[in-house]
Each structure stands twice: as C-alpha cells, then as structure tokens.
C-alpha cells in the first residue's frame, strides 16, 4: 500500500478552491516504482508516479507547477532515490510541495532555500537534496543565497520555476518579469529604467567554477516538456555522481496573472519568454 494521509481541502489565500477530496481507490506500488500497476489487459498506459501523492491540486488551471512537480516525482522514481531524497520547498505558490510529493520535504524561509539545502547536504552527504524555487524566491529575495551556494559549488540541485510573476501574492512584478509586462505593481508595464532588466539566472551564475550543470527549459509544448524532464533527470544524476551544483530553469505558464487562457499562456511563453530567455544547456559538466 502506498503511504498516504488525508489532506484537508487546500485553500489559496484563504479562498476555498476545492471541495472535499474525492474518495480514492488505494494504489499499489510496483517493482518499477509506479503506483498504478499496468493493467493485465493492457489498457492502462499512464499513471501517477509513486513519489506523487494522489491528491487534488490547489494550482490554478493551466499552471505549470503541477507538471514540474510530476516531473520531479517521475525522475525520483526512475532514479530509485525516493528513500534518500529530501526536497526544500520555497515561499510562493510551490510552498505546499509537501502536500504533493511522497517523500521527505522541508519548508524554508523566503529565499533561504539554498542555504537550508546547503546545511542538509553538508550534514548528510548521502541524501539527494533539491530545492524547488520560484523566481521571487530564487532571483529576488534569495539572490545572495543562490549566488554563494552556486559559487561554493554545493552538490545540490535547484529546480527554478520561472513564470515571470509573483503568483502567491497576487501577480506582482518578479525579477524575471519581461519588459512591458503588466503586473499588479507595474500597471503600465515593466520599464527597464527603474525596474532593471529581467534577470537571466543560469547565465548569471555560469561563470562560477562551482556550477556544473545549468540549463533552461520550457513547458510550452510536449517536446519541450519532455526535454525539461530529461534535464531534471540529468541534474539529479549530476548530484548523485557528485559532479556538483546543478540548476534547471523551467519557463512555466501562469495564465491567472498573465491574464491569458491556458493555451494563450503557452503561446506567450513561445513568443515572448523564449526570445528573451533562450532555451538550452548553458553549462554542462566536462
């Protein structure tokens, strides 16, 4: 039997979004680590990864977090590290990571996530430690922790979800908000004068000898989603093989605060974000 606990309906900023969780049928974990065993009649071809709890999501429709949560869980299953992985969730939309992942997770103060991960990895080098951070957590309030953790070359993995906006607090400007992008705190659109240019995080830390694997991916189409997962896996492998610091940036849709439909949000990634945040591996291990 999988280890599950009932969770209360997850509310977002105090507004109940989901009714009571529907009763679920118990799942089994197979040798491959997949919670839903293949149907003997060969009908089921897809299921939840074992490292992902079977719970309703609190994320908005069209949000990319659910996908990235799932990709992390799939990678953890495929690498067989569920029993030695520890996640650190940020302050922001992904703070409730522990409600979704079925392995050990800690929260961290806003932006201090890489420092917390540093303490964990130094104290228990046998654990596989990753942080899961949004643009505000990583590139605004946590810039000092990011830069010095990267520069020390801590053997941790950072999953950096860049949706160019603060989601949890109501759609304010993020350090990665694009020029001209309208947010709650840039009603006339972000201007480079006064707000600065959107930060390109992997490029920023690429010169450090301590950083080993840096890549930018996107969730705008199935092909890129598949690439993103491969990169996340590579980043974890980098840590398992003690190569060193790895960071995967994921350009992720936020239809709610981009004021777009989920489909238009994907188009916006392609047409607006990717030209500024070019995809691909910025640094790979020698």
């Amino acid at each position: 039997m999988t280890t599950r606990r009932p969770i209360r309906p997850v509310t977002r900023e105090g507004h109940p979004k989901n009714p009571d969780p529907r009763p679920r049928t118990p799942r089994r974990r197979t040798a491959q680590g997949h919670a839903n065993p293949p149907d003997p009649r060969g009908r089921q071809v897809f299921g939840k990864p074992a490292s992902l709890k079977d719970v309703p999501t609190h994320f908005c429709s069209g949000c990319g977090h659910g996908l990235v949560h799932r990709m992390v869980a799939e990678v953890v299953d495929e690498l067989g590290i569920r029993e030695r992985v520890v996640g650190v969730s940020p302050v922001g939309c992904a703070v409730l990571g522990y409600d979704y992942w079925d392995f050990d997770v800690s929260e961290a103060a806003h932006g201090r996530t890489p420092a917390v991960a540093t303490g964990m990895k130094r104290a228990r080098p046998d654990l596989i430690v990753f942080t899961y951070q949004g643009d505000g957590d990583l590139a605004a309030i946590g810039t000092a922790e990011l830069i010095h953790t990267a520069n020390r070359g801590e053997n941790i993995t950072i999953i950096f979800v860049n949706n160019a906006v603060y989601g949890m607090t109501g759609g304010q400007m993020a350090p990665t908000t694009l020029e001209g992008q309208i947010t709650a705190t840039t009603p006339a659109g972000r201007t480079l004068e006064g707000c600065g240019a959107p930060l390109k995080v992997p490029e920023m830390i690429a010169p450090f000898p301590g950083t080993k694997y840096l890549v930018r991916t996107a969730l705008n189409n199935p092909r890129n989603i598949s690439i993103a997962k491969r990169c996340i896996k590579k980043a974890f492998q980098c840590q398992i093989e003690n190569v060193g610091f790895s960071l995967v940036e994921v350009l992720s849709p936020c239809p709610t605060y981009w004021r777009l439909s989920p489909l238009d949000a994907l188009k916006w990634i392609e047409e607006k974000m990717i030209p500024y945040f070019p995809l691909g591996e910025i640094k790979v291990p020698n």
Binding site: R5, R84, D104, A108, V116, R122, A123
Partner: protein, 371 residues
C-alpha cells in the same frame, strides 16, 4: 578526559560545543565573537565536522536550519546586529520545532552600536525576538566555567524540547581569559530524532513546516508550542543566590504579619551575566564593611526565576537591579516582586562596563534609603 584549560570565552564556548556533539557550525564574522568562527574553522574539520563561513548571518542560521532538519547538532553565533538578522531563522526554527544553538556575544546598540560589551539584547533574547508567538531558553553564564557548562547543556536542552536555545554571552565573557574545566567529548550518540528528514525509508514521509494556511491547524501548533514553553518554565529555571540563602529568616512568631517581620538582608542586588560577577565583588566588599547585601543571579533569563526571586525579595528591604542596559531585566524583576519592595536601577550602556566601586556606591545609596 576532563582537563583544565586557559582560554578566552569565545574559544571555550566553541570547544564546549564541539564536546557536546556539535559537528556543524555556520557563522559570519562580527566583533566581538570572531574567535568563534576562527576556532571552528580549524576545529570542525579536525573532528570530522563542517565549518562554513556563510555569506551572511541570515544564510548561516538557515544552514543551521538545514543541518538540524536532517538530525545533526548544529550551531551558529554572532553579536547583536547579526543576531537581529538571525531572528527570522530563529522564528522558523521554533515554528518548525528544530533544535539548534545560537550564541549572542552581545555588544552595544542600537544600530551598529559599539563593539563594547552590553546586555542591551535582553528583551530580544527573552521575548522571542522574531515574529510570532514563541520563546527560547536563554542561558546567561557569568564565568567561563559556566559558559562552558551551559554551552554543553544547551545542545541537550535543544534536543529535549526541539527548540532553539540561546546563549547570552557578552563582550566581556567572550574576550576574557579564565581557567575552565572542559567536559568530556560526548560519545556521539544523539537522542533519537524520528522526525528528521533522513529519507522516507520504511516510514511515512517526514515534513518540516511552519506554514498552516488553515488557522485552526496553526492554532493547534501554537497551543502545542505554548504547552512546551510552560514545561520549560516549570523545569528549566536556573538561578544562583549569593549570600541570600545564608540569611535565613528566623521562624515567624505567631500573629506577626510578614510585613513587620525584620528582613534578613537590607539589599539584594539582581544581576546576570558578566555584571553579576562585578556585583559579587561589590557584595563581598559591602559585607566586609558590615552591610547586609546579597546577590540574586538569574542563570536562565528565560524562563526567568520569578518565584525564587519573589521568595528572596521577602528576605530583603529593597532590591537594586544592575545591568549593562537602560533597564530591561528590571521589568522581569518588577513582575516577580511587584510593589512590595522598592526596586532601584543602576546601568551603564553603550559598551561601558560598571566598576565594582560604582556598584558599591549605588548599593550604599540604596541602603541609605531603606535604613
């Protein structure tokens, strides 16, 4: 093997932490606690531990958070301005119920202040200090030996209650040299920590969190923490009386009210930390001059020894609180004693340390008022 060493306070505190099983120290330089970072930078690798000079006090306390979350004994230290930066982390440590030790080698404030010794962080240390409803056991040693012993104890207390413990040192204690007997190296067996994040092997996943969007759940956490703090108040109060206990009251004659009963001491000085040792010298001098003066010294400034101080105050005509602040602990003394005895105050601030002579003079003034 126990052995007596001559060390400065900051070094002695560091070695006591190592001997208490601390293997992870994260710090950031600030005067007057720089000896701690320097000592730990070579001592930690020597005992198989880790030292990181963090990019800030904020990062250092969060590294402690991480190491504590996976079950290790971890410590950070700083001085007043740096401790202000750590308060966010201390609040999270309390909310997440993680054990850790934080040492404050207090210096003058506010702002950047001075690098001279001070006790101006009493409120911050004893009232939580950061945001939210929490307390931390706060140990205030007055000698190097006590600094060593309390540092050793602090790790056990932190593990026992799953709560950060503060060591309230100051610039005097940190910098002075004095002989102290070091405890033996602990055997390396830490108390079981089934809550720690060690990988979800053969158990449900562990979660370290302080976020509860459901207010009922947060209230439950607050009540649980409150229960823990009450337990600390019941079990962890520590104090010392100097020449108070030897001034035993004779049995009260029947029918005579307590107020008319002749007190056994005319004046009790109340002081903690390095100021208490100055007061102790003042008490000796005054006693030699035939004055009935005693000293009451809280060792835990939180939980504060309210009851013992109230009992001691019954034996005296008046109290004089001596602090290196504009008057912070005096509020706790007033809470303990109420209005039944006059409570005077003498303080030096800004990094200045009072002399024994100054305390003697202040005590004489206070004595004149009650005699």
């Amino acid at each position: 093997m126990n052995h007596k060493v001559l060390m400065c306070g900051n070094d002695a505190m560091s070695e006591a932490a190592v001997r208490a099983g601390c293997r992870f120290y994260f710090g950031y330089p600030i005067t007057p606690q720089n000896e701690v970072t320097a000592y730990m930078s070579w001592r930690m690798p020597e005992v198989g531990g880790t030292f990181i000079q963090a990019e800030s006090e904020i990062a250092a306390v969060n590294m402690v958070f991480g190491a504590a979350a996976v079950g290790a004994r971890a410590m950070t230290s700083s001085s007043s301005p740096g401790i202000s930066l750590k308060q966010e982390g201390i609040s999270y440590l309390c909310g997440c119920e993680l054990p850790a030790v934080i040492a404050n080698v207090v210096r003058g404030g506010p702002g950047l202040g001075s690098i001279g010794p001070s006790q101006a962080d009493y409120f911050q240390a004893t009232r939580g200090g950061g945001h939210g409803d929490y307390r931390t056991i706060t140990l205030a040693p007055s000698t190097l030996q006590e600094l060593v012993d309390l540092t050793y104890l602090s790790f056990d207390l932190a593990d026992k209650y799953r709560n950060p413990v503060l060591i309230l040192s100051d610039g005097v204690l940190g910098q002075m040299m004095e002989p102290a007997v070091l405890p033996e190296m602990m055997d390396g067996k830490l108390p079981p920590k089934p809550w720690a994040l060690t990988g979800a092997r053969n158990r449900l996943p562990n979660v370290i969190r302080s976020l509860y969007l459901d207010v009922d759940l947060l209230e439950k956490l607050n009540l649980k923490l409150g229960h823990k703090f009450r337990e600390m108040e019941q079990q962890e109060v520590r104090f010392e009386e100097f020449n108070v206990t030897d001034a035993v009251l004779p049995p009260r004659p029947a029918g005579l009210s307590r107020g008319r009963h002749a007190p056994a001491a005319d004046l009790i000085l109340v002081a903690y930390g390095s100021v208490a040792r100055i007061c102790r010298s003042a008490v000796r001098r005054l006693r030699q001059a035939g004055q009935r003066v005693s000293l009451f010294r809280p060792i835990t400034v939180w939980p504060f020894p309210y009851e013992p101080l109230a009992t001691a105050a019954e034996r005296a005509k008046a109290l004089l609180v001596v602090e290196m602040s504009m008057g912070q602990m005096i509020e706790d003394v007033k809470l303990a004693v109420g209005r039944c005895r006059p409570i005077g105050f003498f303080g030096r601030v800004g990094g200045c340390v009072m002399s024994v002579e100054e305390v003697v003079q202040e005590a004489r003034k206070a004595l004149e008022e009650v005699q």
